[in-house]
């Protein structure tokens, strides 16, 4: 069976600087894959390249065996790739619910429905609202549905962003440091949430600095350093890999 996503020698250069060079790995279906590395190692660049926010300078990205590198973000989202951001990108002047329904794939109202305010419009919007509420409940933010996103706590916004990513019914979910800024108990429920995603048919690529979380939920871990893939494998193996330890220690030195 082809992997859900496969990276083949993906590189991304900014001017003369290589943010990613020849990164290759694949994401098997239904797995939770961790992506770690020191700051500036290229994790977010890789997320951007996969989600279409950025395009690779070189290399191929295959989704279900079909090349998708360089496609715009909205098309990749339609093809099943959703993501969250390291710096939360919720729309502050929309409510939590509106932020989630923004990404729903259930049909939205047509031009005529909207302009003539046909009765169908109310029904459609009610359905979308119900879908959005369900997703908010799943991430544990249902009570904030009608609060403006800008006024919510960091942890709540993180969870709502995950709900928005789930709203587009993705097959691949890219989470960029979802635990950052969360309290301990929030992290625990986040861990449960992520662990439950494969059962719903999702594959997850997780970038995270919280090693307990990474080691706890990931089936496999890839390590980046200065744009190069330096190690990959089971969590236990990676944890004891001297190259990985050196990369982290070296980074702390600098």
């Amino acid at each position: 069976m082809t992997p859900l996503l496969e990276l083949r020698s993906v590189s991304r250069h900014f001017g003369g600087v290589a943010a990613l060079s020849n990164v290759s790995f694949s994401l098997p279906r239904g797995a939770v894959i961790g992506l770690i590395g020191p700051n500036g190692s290229g994790k977010t660049t890789l997320m951007n390249v996969i989600s279409g926010v950025d395009a690779p300078t070189d290399g191929a990205i295959l989704l279900d065996g079909a090349p998708v590198q360089g496609l715009p973000a909205n098309l990749l989202a339609r093809r099943g790739i959703a993501r969250t951001f390291q710096h939360i990108r919720l729309i502050p002047d929309l409510t939590a619910l509106q932020n989630v329904t923004l990404a729903l794939r259930t049909p939205s109202a047509g031009a005529l429905d909207i302009l003539l305010r046909l009765p169908r419009l109310g029904r459609i919007e009610r359905d979308r609202r119900a879908c959005g509420l369900k997703l908010l409940d799943q991430v544990g933010a249902g009570q904030h549905a009608d609060t403006l996103a800008g006024g919510l706590s960091y942890g709540d916004r993180r969870r709502i962003e995950i709900a928005r990513a789930l709203a587009s019914e993705p097959r691949l979910l890219l989470l960029d440091e979802p635990a950052a800024g969360m309290t301990h108990s929030e992290r625990t429920s986040l861990r449960d949430l992520i662990a439950g995603l494969p059962e719903r048919g999702l594959t997850v690529l997780l970038v995270e600095h919280d090693m307990d979380l990474v080691m706890g939920v990931c089936d496999e871990i890839h390590v980046l350093n200065q744009g190069n893939s330096i190690a990959s494998g089971k969590p236990e193996a990676v944890r004891s890999d001297p190259k990985v330890i050196e990369a982290y220690l070296g980074a702390e030195d600098a």
Binding site: P72, A82, F85, Q98, L102, S108, A109, I114, E125, S168
Partner: protein, 280 residues
């Protein structure tokens, strides 16, 4: 009473017309597009509509429809080319479009009469038509804003990237809005042409575009009353300040500057501001 109405008939007409045109810019400002294409798009609507009513014997309604369609198509074409430009580059490209259209109009004697303009245009635009069409435009924008599409608009204004990673084609959405704003400009152009019996290419240049986009900024970019208030103020202010012929320009400038500096939400924010002052 009727005399009073007729004494300010044209002032009322211009308030209504300019308010409508301002909505064309309003919907674009809503997604962070500062467009100066209004003049050029209006010119297309204006010249097409008078050619149809004066040369081809069309009646007013179909001529206006044709003006609307033609300007929408022009906006669609222009938008597909220039919407990918960022910020000020987009603004400059739309300004270049307006100026190029104006200069073509200046040189295209057989249709536009050059600088001498076209006169004797039948006066077909009525106040009630302007009021009705303005109401229609306001209703349509209201309906869109109070739907999922309106939420998407607000989201694009705040964070385009978030919207596109949520699966929406932001470029296509903006193109649709730009086309809609072209429709408003084309309709406004046709109405303007049949309002004062005369048009010349100078009516549709840089200044027209600037005035149209300033109206919602002054009135308020987030409130549906904004464009109406902004455009009306810009029409009424020169009339109200006529008592001071010499200081008029300066006073208009000072008023504009005061709004920009002290009313972040535009003139619609004025009552709220004064209430707050009164309360504290």
């Amino acid at each position: 009473m009727t005399d009073l109405f007729y004494a300010y008939h044209n002032v009322i007409d211009l308030c209504l017309l300019n308010s409508m045109l301002a909505f064309g810019c309003f919907i674009l400002l809503g997604v962070n597009l500062f467009s100066l294409a209004t003049g050029g798009l209006m010119a297309i609507g204006a010249y097409l509509s008078i050619w149809l009513t004066m040369q081809q014997g069309w009646s007013f309604a179909p001529a206006l429809t044709a003006a609307l369609v033609a300007a929408s198509l022009a906006a669609f074409g222009l938008g597909s080319l220039v919407l990918r430009l960022r910020g000020d580059y987009f603004t400059m490209a739309t300004l270049a479009f307006t100026e190029v259209v104006r200069i073509i109009a200046l040189n295209w004697d057989s249709v536009t009469g050059g600088a001498l303009g076209v006169f004797g245009i039948p006066q077909l635009t009525e106040t009630w038509q302007l009021a009705g069409l303005l109401a229609l435009v306001i209703y349509l924008i209201w309906a869109v804003r109070h739907s999922a599409v309106g939420e998407r608009m607000r989201a694009i204004a705040a964070d385009e990237l978030a919207v596109s990673t949520a699966g929406h084609d932001v470029a296509r959405f903006k193109l649709a809005l730009f086309t809609a704003s072209g429709a408003i400009a084309g309709l406004g152009g046709g109405l303007a042409a049949h309002l004062n019996m005369f048009i010349a290419p100078g009516d549709f240049g840089f200044l027209r575009s600037v005035d149209t986009v300033i109206a919602p900024v002054l009135g308020g970019v987030w409130n549906l009353a904004g464009p109406v208030i902004g455009a009306s103020v810009l029409v009424v202010l020169p009339e109200a300040l006529r008592f001071s012929a010499q200081m008029r320009e300066i006073l208009i400038g000072v008023t504009m500057l005061a709004v920009v500096l002290f009313l972040p939400a535009g003139l619609v924010g004025l009552p709220k501001l004064s209430r707050r002052r009164a309360a504290s």
